[in-house]
């Protein structure tokens, strides 16, 4: 028997699958960075990674102090 819940469930399911496929397609399209990974670029990207880790740790510490 076709119920509203089932129709809705299928619709939502197909929509989510569509989104996952779309994101997967974007990831495949941009899998290889176009820019040449020279030493300068590598250092800059490493700096950004370290910077972001530092900020995440800082936000984590803030969250921890708020909970205390």
């Amino acid at each position: 028997m076709v119920t509203i819940e089932r129709v809705l469930g299928e619709r939502i399911g197909s929509m989510i699958r569509g989104w996952i496929d779309k994101i997967d397609g974007i990831n495949r399209k941009y899998a290889v960075p176009r820019i040449e990974m020279s030493r300068g670029v590598k250092i800059a990207l490493l700096f950004l990674r370290v910077y972001l880790v530092f900020l995440v740790l800082l936000l984590g510490y803030k969250f921890y102090t708020l909970l205390q």
Binding site: A31, R34, I35, A44, L59
Partner: protein, 422 residues
Amino acid sequence: MDLGSTFFYKYRRFVKTLQIYLLLSGPGLIVMLADNDAGGITTYTVTGAKFGYGLIWFLLLLLPVAYVVQEMTVRLGAVTKRGHAEAIFDAFGSFWGWFSFLDLALVNWLTLITEFIGMTAALMIFHIPPFITVTIVSVIMMLMVLQGRYWTWEKIALLFAALNLIYIPAAFMVHPSVGEVLSVGLIPHFPGGFNATLFFFLMANIGTTIAPWMIFFQQSAVVDKGMKEKDIPWGQMDTLIGSAFTVIIAIFLVIVTGTVLYGSEVESAAQAASILITTNPWLGTFIAIGLFDAGFLGAICISLASSWAFGEVFGWAHSLNLKIREAPWFYACYFFALISAGAVVLIPNAPLVLITLFVQVIAVTLLPAALVFLILLLNNEGIMGKYRNSRLQNVAAIVIVMAIIVLSTLYGITTLFPGLIT
């Protein structure tokens, strides 16, 4: 050639140049005037009230800062014909692409809320309830994009941008001492000595000058406008004029509050307008209108920056030159951002102060990445060809970007841990 002919020739040449400029101007002017958004207006208002004319010299330094960063987006957009979000995905891969895109979506949405906070606070002074403000503003912003032409949207936006100039007559109304403005304002010094509070304000002023959405907005606007490599000099001029205007407006606002509110404990532009409207109704009205306009201009640019980025990343049609049926997802993003951000402001007891502080912290996570990517892209010969950064441009850009990263990071940290500044 006689004198009359020479004059006529020069006049025709000037008119022709002006016509071309008016045709090609827009992205630089709009982004720079929108840079003085609700948050920026509040920062300048409080700066004037706290330090008088003492930091005008510092505001002047922000002109090259804003120009150097934003000029790079003009070249990148005109050469690659891609927005910044797409350019990051393409050049640095999906990890940095998703990071920048999701961070931008979040920080833009939060900033949009702060613009609505500014607009509702400004119109509350005229006893207009927030619900009416949010509804009318959202409808106007939707109508602006529905006509299906980038050119028309840009010219309407420029009209609203021109309203930002209201602080110039406001400054003349308070009759400041020109001598004092020049002697105190233009000589670099630290009013009250270099202390933690002053440092916080310097950071706040830098923080309002360059925001992540500006980089994404201008590059996408350059692409949507259809600017080509040959238009780059006009885009540069547009950005330079816009940078000058943004600094001039900031200075005039500082002169207003530095003259009439110096020494007062003012925490926001809305509060300053409320105080002034009782003593000088016209001045209070001007400040409130300016605050509303700043929020409005910021909101239209920020919501567009997000919609362009969504379109670029997901491959949807994304241009103001398209009708709704031709670019449904692009417009859906724009409308959703506006309506949801406006609705947050209307929630009773919503943590609006917390949101405002959170914006500054989240922006700090994206700004360095966006700026570093900008410099790396502008140095890539394969992408930029002969339009890549020269050595001089690199020195200026790297020094400015390093300064922005350090100061905005410290600003974010002090927002997170206010106890650090005592």
